[in-house]
């Protein structure tokens, strides 16, 4: 009992908390199942339609995006896991117990973010690679055959699918830190993914392309893209630019959350 506990002790503590609550564990399982399961569903559904595709559709077909289609659903699960990781502490007022054990807000938030990121990253990468291999098996020998991992940007696209989930989990965590309420954080997160694209769609089309590419889910598609354009030809940011922009959203959200937490009463 003599050493001074530091960040590592708080990470271990937060890991115990992460795995000892049903909601986070179930959320992680759902994210895993969605990434793989929806990928399979899309795979089987699209496979039957390949022959009836128009030439334009065929030209912009990105089989990796198809195999990774489950990410579009899993992104909601990770946002919820991230937000609940902190909002559940506020709704149960256990945040007061937590902060009296770890008064250093920066250390606490860092530990939570590290545990969250590691769990989603590991599970997300496994799920992404399983989804890739499922897709490769389904589309084997068709016009949508997936390139091998060693070809072009394939490995990168699969890897960045897992990273995208990780960043979105952190983004949800940042929203949770700022808003402190489960319902508010989750609805803000889903609005950003679902409602903003609809609102942008109502803007003059000359603006649309400029704004659309900054949307989190479009940044995700850019990260997974092996062609540089989306279906329909919408231009997107380069892979790493998109990754950096999404990471900056996470830093902004979590950073704002830490500042607010240091100023606000618990």
């Amino acid at each position: 009992m003599t050493h001074t506990p530091g960040l590592y002790a708080v990470i271990r503590s937060e890991w115990i908390k992460f795995r000892s609550v049903r909601s986070t564990v179930i959320g992680t399982v759902i994210m895993f199942v969605l990434t793989i399961g929806i990928g399979l569903l899309i795979g089987f559904a699209v496979k039957g339609h390949l022959q009836s595709m128009t030439p334009v559709e065929r030209a912009t077909l990105d089989p990796i995006q198809l195999a990774m289609g489950g990410i579009l659903f899993a992104q909601f699960a990770v946002g919820v896991i991230g937000a609940l990781l902190i909002t559940s502490e506020y709704t149960s007022t256990s945040i007061r117990t937590t902060l009296s054990a770890v008064p250093n807000r920066l250390r606490l938030v860092s530990a939570k973010a590290i545990v969250l990121a590691l769990v989603i990253f590991i599970v997300g990468e496994i799920a992404s690679f399983v989804a890739y291999f499922d897709g490769a098996a389904i589309f084997h020998g068709t016009i949508a055959a997936l390139p091998s991992l060693s070809q072009g940007k394939t490995l990168q696209a699969v890897f960045l699918s897992g990273l995208y989930l990780t960043l979105m989990g952190l983004f949800g965590f940042g929203l949770g830190l700022i808003l402190r309420q489960s319902a508010g954080s989750i609805s803000t997160y889903t609005s950003l993914l679902l409602i903003i694209p609809i609102l942008v769609f109502l803007l003059p089309s000359s603006w649309q392309n400029n704004i659309t590419k900054f949307e989190p889910s479009v940044l995700g598609q850019a990260m997974r893209s092996t062609t540089g354009v989306l279906r329909g030809g919408t231009p997107v940011f380069g892979t790493w630019t998109a990754t950096a922009i999404l990471a900056s959203y996470c830093v902004a959200a979590v950073g704002a959350g830490i500042i607010l937490m240091s100023r606000r009463d618990a």
């Binding site: 050493h3 503590s13 115990i16 908390k17 909601s23 009296s100 054990a101 100023r263 009463d265 618990a266």
Partner: protein
């Protein structure tokens, strides 16, 4: 040792704590007493670095809470019993706390045994009764074997046996030389639990001292029975006395000594059947001390 130095805490328009200063010394049980809404919980949250004071500061053994690297080993606190994630088991809750402060896992089982929760250690804390939650909170406060302990309204939700248990427990902690601060809105509770008492009202310091000191300094009341209580009440109205109770038994008079009441009755021609000075109970002292603050807060609420 806890030092509260000129703490003020405002929430929007509400001044919850108003330039409050006091010290809590080791080796005794210090009662922190005030009516509901007088700022006890807020003060305790400020001591624990949870709320930021608008002004002033609180120190634990000379250090601010934020500067403690393993706070659970220096301060143990039970603020709200239910400040636990409902889905987590009691044991995992305590284990996470212990690990964050470098406290060995074996200590978790020790404190669970001590509060008698070992049989439900694997149950979800959300399914605990208030009494069990209180025990879990106490287990958490004891994890780091801290020299300073804070308990906010700890007897709430405890059965009589639990209350006796917790009083003996506070006594043991104080006898071991620890600093023990226990809040309550019930004077009767503090009278039997605490050695020293700090009284606040409307966030302001009112008085402090030992239980004996507080009752000694308070004005006593006199029970008066006479042939004509109505006439006597009228006569008393012209003096500094306050008549607080009128019934068949007689009058309860404060603010005037028994001898003066006797003289007044004689002068008015009323025969006295009883004239009994009563030493003020601690409860009365408390009511008297905090009367203004309670009344103020009620009229303030009505005005809103």
């Amino acid at each position: 040792m806890i030092s509260v130095e000129h703490i003020t805490k405002r929430f929007n328009d509400t001044t919850a704590v108003d330039d409050l200063s006091f010290e809590v010394k080791p080796g005794v049980i210090t009662g922190f007493l005030g009516p509901n809404g007088s700022g006890k919980s807020t003060t305790m949250r400020i001591i624990l670095g949870l709320d930021r004071p608008t002004k002033g500061r609180a120190l634990i053994n000379g250090k601010s809470y934020h500067s403690l690297s393993a706070p659970l080993r220096e301060v143990g606190a039970l603020l709200e019993a239910k400040a636990v994630h409902p889905g987590r088991s009691a044991r995992n809750h305590l284990l996470a706390l212990a690990v964050s402060n470098g406290i060995p896992a074996s200590r978790v089982d020790e404190v669970l045994n001590f509060v008698g929760l070992e049989s439900v250690a694997k149950k979800r804390a959300g399914d605990f009764s208030l009494g069990m939650s209180q025990r879990l909170g106490i287990a958490g406060a004891l994890l780091g074997d801290p020299p300073v302990l804070l308990f906010d309204e700890p007897v709430n939700g405890l059965d009589p046996e639990g209350i006796r248990w917790i009083r003996e427990f506070f006594r043991k902690l104080a006898d071991e030389g620890r600093t023990v601060l226990v809040s309550s809105h019930l004077m009767s509770e503090m009278a039997v639990t605490a050695d020293q008492i700090i009284v606040i009202g409307r966030g302001k310091f009112i008085t402090s001292g030992s239980v004996d000191d507080l009752t000694k300094n308070a004005a006593g009341t006199v029970i008066v029975r006479s042939t004509n209580n109505g006439e006597l009440t009228k006569a008393l109205a012209n003096t500094s006395a306050t008549v607080s109770e009128i019934n068949d038994e007689g009058l309860r008079v404060s603010g005037l000594a028994a001898a003066a009441i006797g003289d007044l009755a004689f002068a008015t021609g009323i025969a006295l059947h009883e004239l009994t000075p009563e030493r003020a109970s601690l409860e009365e002292v408390f009511m008297e001390l905090t009367h203004d603050s309670v009344e103020y807060s009620q009229t303030a609420k009505e005005a809103n």
